[in-house]
Amino acid sequence: MAPVPDPNNVGGGAKRDEATTKVPSKDPKKKDDKKEEDLSEEDLELKQNLELYVERVQDPNPELQKAALESMRQEIRASTSSMTSVPKPLKFLRPHYGTLKEFHKNMVESDLKKLLADILSVLALTMSAEGERESLGYRLTGSGGDIGSWGHEYVRNLAGEIAEEYTMRQSEEASVDDLMDLVKQIVAFHMKHNAETEAVDLLMDVEDLDLLLQHVDRANFRRTCNYLTSSAKYLPGPDDMLVLDIAYMIYMKFEEHPNALQVALFLDNMQYVKQVFTSCTDLLKKKQFCYMISRHGITFELDPEMVADKDDRDILQDIVNNTKLSEGYLTLARDIEVMEAKTPEDIYKAHLLDGRASSGPSVDSARQNLAATFVNAFVNAGFGQDKLMTVPSDAASGSAGNWLFKNKEHGKTSAAASLGMILLWDVDAGLTQLDKYFHSTDNPVLAGALLGVGINNCGIKSDCDPALALLGEYIDNEDSSVRIGAIMGLGIAYAGSQNDQIRSSLSPILNDATAPLDVIAFAALSLGMIYVGSCNEEVAQSIIFALMDRSEAQLGDALTRFLPLGLGLLYLGKQESVEATAEVSKTFNEKIRKYCDMTLLSCAYAGTGNVLKVQDLLAQCGEHLEKGDIHQGPAVLGLAMVAMSEELGLDMAIRSLERVLQYGEQNIRRAVPLALGLLCISNPKVNVMDTLSRLSHDTDSEVAMAAIISLGLIGAGTNNARIAGMLRNLSSYYYKDASLLFCVRIAQGFVHMGKGLLTLSPFHSERLLLSPTALAGIVTLLHACLDMKSIILGKYHYVLYFLVLAMQPRMMLTVDENLKPISVPVRVGQAVDVVGQAGRPKTITGFQTHSTPVLLAAGERAELATDKYIPLSPILEGFIILKENPDYREE
């Protein structure tokens, strides 16, 4: 119950001086005794009046009763403004609560009884015992007048009691109609009085969010939806989906199509996406929608219903197909003046490591050259030029001067494919450059060319389907490295497309008894990518059969892990849909059963923040196992995958991982750095950086390797000077260990990815949306890193290219109505969480003003610094179309 407040506080207003002069020196006990005398004259009068009313209420004369009740109500209403202390009338009526209650019980049904019930309902606010819900009880028997007239606190209290009552009645299966009437009143009141969060909370409690639709208006729908979308992250399924559904409807109601589209994409509901298009008539806005869809990385086909005109549709489809991504990225690069190609040496910055820099070994090391190939590819990704692969080989040096041949055997695959990465998103130029390798008689080179086409086309779709046309015929090549190149290329180019033609050509490989294991593994992985998050039964069946067909020896192979992973990707983020497949996986050979189980679980709940699943996975990590069990690795990764979606869960996961690190077995310790890398991908948090830096010197070289790779991942595309320095020092610390040095080099390449213009974060649109293909790419790499020695340090280093799926420019590029880039001033600053805040709070802090295009770091947000234009999307990320503001006046 509310505590009896200090009389000092009660005696506010004009009489305060009097009261304080008398009271201060007295100790509390005396205060109680002499309460009577302490009261000011005014208070005393009020008290006597109230006592009189109480007496009169019990008078048999109804007239007197009525007058007394009316006066009492007057008194109470007049003083319910503030709730920092108990209002005086309520306080003075406290001793009489029991009397009035008793009297009310014996009254005959009448208006007066209702009136008294109203008053009792208010009195119960401070008097009723916890859980009695008397306030609600009296309210229901009362006259049911304007609920707001008793003040906010009363309404708030009532809302709480309704929620309790509702759950109770639900369990008793009693009717809730009377409650719902009250709820309607309360919601209406809250929505009018800037208390959207409370209205939403109440409606969530009584499971009737639809009511919200009637009450939102232009003034408060944004705050309401903001609260809805952010609370969805903390709700258990299926409530979260319901909440988002409502948010979508509200946005649609107020024609906030970009936001509606965002929610629709979050729900992965293509029907809703379509609805957004059909209900919007503004072509320019539709273009903006297309930009949003293209950033999300899903395959989306516009139909005449969405856009009637064919030419318009073609333009829009081009945007969805990302055909202009390369152009926009290069605009950004030119604006920031980083077009100049960088060599791996520019990244290693060995001259900063004095004394150790001097002339390297005179003979080429294949391992080091391979590392340089990757560094070169990642650093110059998408720029279309570099200093190793695209330089025209001059006649003097001939083909010996060609970097491609400075790589050994399978290294040539990665080298040839790196050309696809350098020309990323620029399909025309990419295919032209890669053409020369198609005629090579050297199988690894051909494989690299095929893979390069896939990388080059990553995220870009075209009517001609060049990737499928070029790679299709190599799927059944007799050389398995060529096959893998083609299969992996298709997986990357068509990730998320659910292309039936590819399925029909890849599925048979899975069940081909003669196919080598590595081909099968990559086929499963590619199918998983192409059908990511689709829950496609047929693909699942093929992979399951392939897993069942593996011999005992094959199940022990490092590459076998790609089969369960491919299966898991099918259910990425699809939660319960995985259950049937998870059941089937229990029948697998015990060698792979647990691994499969963990992978399926972690993929299905990836990005959901589901606490129960996090606990399940943690429990797995807590076990101390016999040697040879490898399923704890994916469990640790799974922990990160599930928890990565929102900040709180993320921080908790980081702390849990620290514990796991301390007490876990070796195979867990090896996965922890990778999990940390996933949690903070392209977001170098200092505490994680320190942990990884410590682990990078671990005595277990696999832990150190994982930590080094993760250092690269958390700094990916940031050019973070501190991580760059750490890696530089690691490069001299590990200069003798070729494997560790290779990892350091790769990590250095990651940190300077796209010369700092790219991000690997699968989250976008203010961290709300999770791009499934991007996550699939990262998770695949991490699973490969669980057995670094056999995969990345072995001959399958090209799995590093799976990261291309997650590579996106971290830019904000403004374009005008003709989609030509224009430069406008924007403020870029740290994003502030404004959920549940009243009014129009600042959304960024510590901002700087730049002119577009600008780079956005993790946790940063932009806002236009001019009124001259209106952005067509409230989420200022990626491509933003600006419309001139008709109301703008030059000053």
């Binding site: 070994p361 005179s362 060609n402 491609l404 053409d435 020369k436 080179v445 001609c464 015929e473």
Partner: protein, 481 residues
């Protein structure tokens, strides 16, 4: 007749007509005219497939106005280089070692770090290596005893092993012969071989080598070790009481750097070490008197060894105590003022030349100065290695007969440091820090070689519990005239 547009590279060719009755090859020929890409290298993409030469247009289902995409270039096809590129990983183990830029470490056989570090320091002298390789296995001259011969051979083998191996070498054979020759190194304590003084090992080993590497002709000058390390001192012994004065010469293998309270720098220590007092019978006075001995350097070695006298016998505690005092030493040492008058005269011209050259480099080509001097150094080594012992002798005498010979300048560069860590000579840990030909510094901590920074080398000057220099070796800088 169908009309399609074809996209090739960044260009779009609009309105190309296709006659559906003709094979696709004809269409390709059309494109050849437009793009110059030969038909066999054209890849035309139609709805997720490639257009075959003999394809039937009706089966493909190309629509009027459709966009096709063509890939292909007329560029030269990349060919693998005729000469396969050799990678470090392909090389046999020995060759890989040479590409690491430094040689392997030595396994500690139980308190043998004193020996390991000595060997590593001495191994860094290429002239010693070549002298050893000339040492005939068979030709044991009569004046060399069996154990010395064996030790010399063992040294030679050990140096060879170190150069060939990538992994740490176990110096078992060498250790056995060393103990055979010098039984004092076999001392046991608690069943373990004791830690020994590296200086003793260094001196004994050099002495043995100098004995065995003496040319059979047994002339003084042909002593290779002496030619490399020997320092001739001319001392003036002076008795203040009687005013007697005499001079004597001696040859030592190392200069001592005495450490007293005034000594903060190597140079001061050396000066201190070259002055001494001794008591001897004065013929004039007929009794023992105090003589002052002042020594000056009369001839310079190619490799100047300096021993920091850090250990002394403490009578009170009956043990060898260590002076922890910090004594700085430079990377570049000039010992001109420790030289005798005669020698100074000889040095003046080369020094002037050196200064001129340096001035020129700094003034005119500041960038290439380092490189140039490196080249010169290697030249110097090459020539000396080829010409063998005789040439080193001429240089040592400061011979000025031929033009283009190399001259001493009195300036020395630090090449190796043997450090001790710990409080007593017979305990603690010895480590060698050796400068490679590439200019890199390597720390040889028994079997673990590791790269070090040059600035860290000068930090081994003592004053704490870190490794501190015990024996350091400088290499002479030559100038050709």
């Amino acid at each position: 007749m169908l009309t399609v547009s074809v996209k090739w590279q960044k260009k779009v060719f609009e309105g190309i007509e296709i006659d559906p009755t003709l094979p696709a090859y004809v269409f390709k020929a059309q494109l050849y005219d437009l793009t110059g890409v030969p038909p066999e290298r054209q890849k035309i993409m139609v709805k997720g497939g490639l257009l075959k030469d003999d394809a039937d247009w009706s089966a493909i289902g190309v629509k009027d106005g459709q966009k096709l995409m063509m890939m292909g270039t007329a560029d030269e096809i990349v060919k693998a280089p005729e000469k396969a590129i050799v990678f470090a990983e392909d090389l046999p183990e020995e060759e890989q070692a040479t590409h690491l830029g430094y040689s392997a470490g030595l396994v500690n056989l139980g308190n043998t770090c004193y020996m390991n570090s000595t060997v590593q320091c001495l191994k860094s002298v290429p002239e010693l290596k070549s002298a050893l390789s000339n040492y005939a296995l068979t030709g044991r001259s009569n004046d060399v005893d069996q154990t010395s011969h064996m030790l010399t051979v063992a040294t030679r083998e050990l140096f060879g092993d170190l150069d060939r191996s990538v992994n740490a070498v176990s110096p078992t054979q060498f250790w056995m012969t060393l103990r055979k020759k010098f039984p004092q190194f076999s001392q046991l304590q608690n069943g373990m071989h004791m830690q020994q003084d590296a200086e003793e090992c260094w001196t004994q080993l050099l002495y043995t080598l100098s004995q065995s590497l003496k040319a059979p002709t047994s002339s003084e000058d042909s002593d290779a070790v002496k030619a490399l390390f020997g320092v001739n001192l001319r001392s003036r012994v002076h008795c203040q009481e009687s005013g007697e004065e005499s001079s004597e010469t001696e040859s030592v293998y190392s200069l001592k750097c005495h450490i007293s309270h005034e000594v903060n720098h190597l140079h001061e220590g050396l000066k201190h070490g070259l002055k001494g007092e001794l008591e001897k019978t004065s013929p004039a006075l007929g009794r023992t008197a105090l003589y002052l001995k002042e020594s000056l350097i009369d001839s310079l070695p190619r490799y100047l060894t300096v021993q920091f006298v850090r250990f002394f016998w403490k009578r009170e505690t009956n043990q060898k105590a260590k002076i922890l005092r910090k004594v700085d030493y430079p990377l570049e040492l000039d010992i001109f003022d420790l030289c005798s008058e005669d020698l100074r005269k000889k040095l003046e011209a080369p020094r002037q030349k050196l200064r001129d050259e340096e001035g020129k480099k700094l003034g005119l080509q500041p960038k290439s100065s380092l490189k140039d001097s490196d080249v010169k150094m290697t030249d110097a080594e090459a020539s000396s290695n080829e010409s063998g012992e005789s040439s080193t002798v001429t240089q040592q005498e400061g011979g000025s007969s031929e033009k283009g010979t190399l001259h001493m300048t009195g300036i020395y560069d630090l090449v190796s440091v043997l450090t001790h860590k710990g409080r007593s000579a017979d305990s603690g840990h010895y480590v060698a820090w050796v400068k490679q030909e590439s200019g890199k510094w390597i720390q040889y901590d028994d079997s673990h070689p590791s790269l070090q920074r040059e600035e860290d080398i000068t930090k081994l000057s003592g004053g704490g519990d870190w490794h501190m220099a015990y024996i350091i070796m400088y290499k002479a800088r030559f100038v050709s005239m």
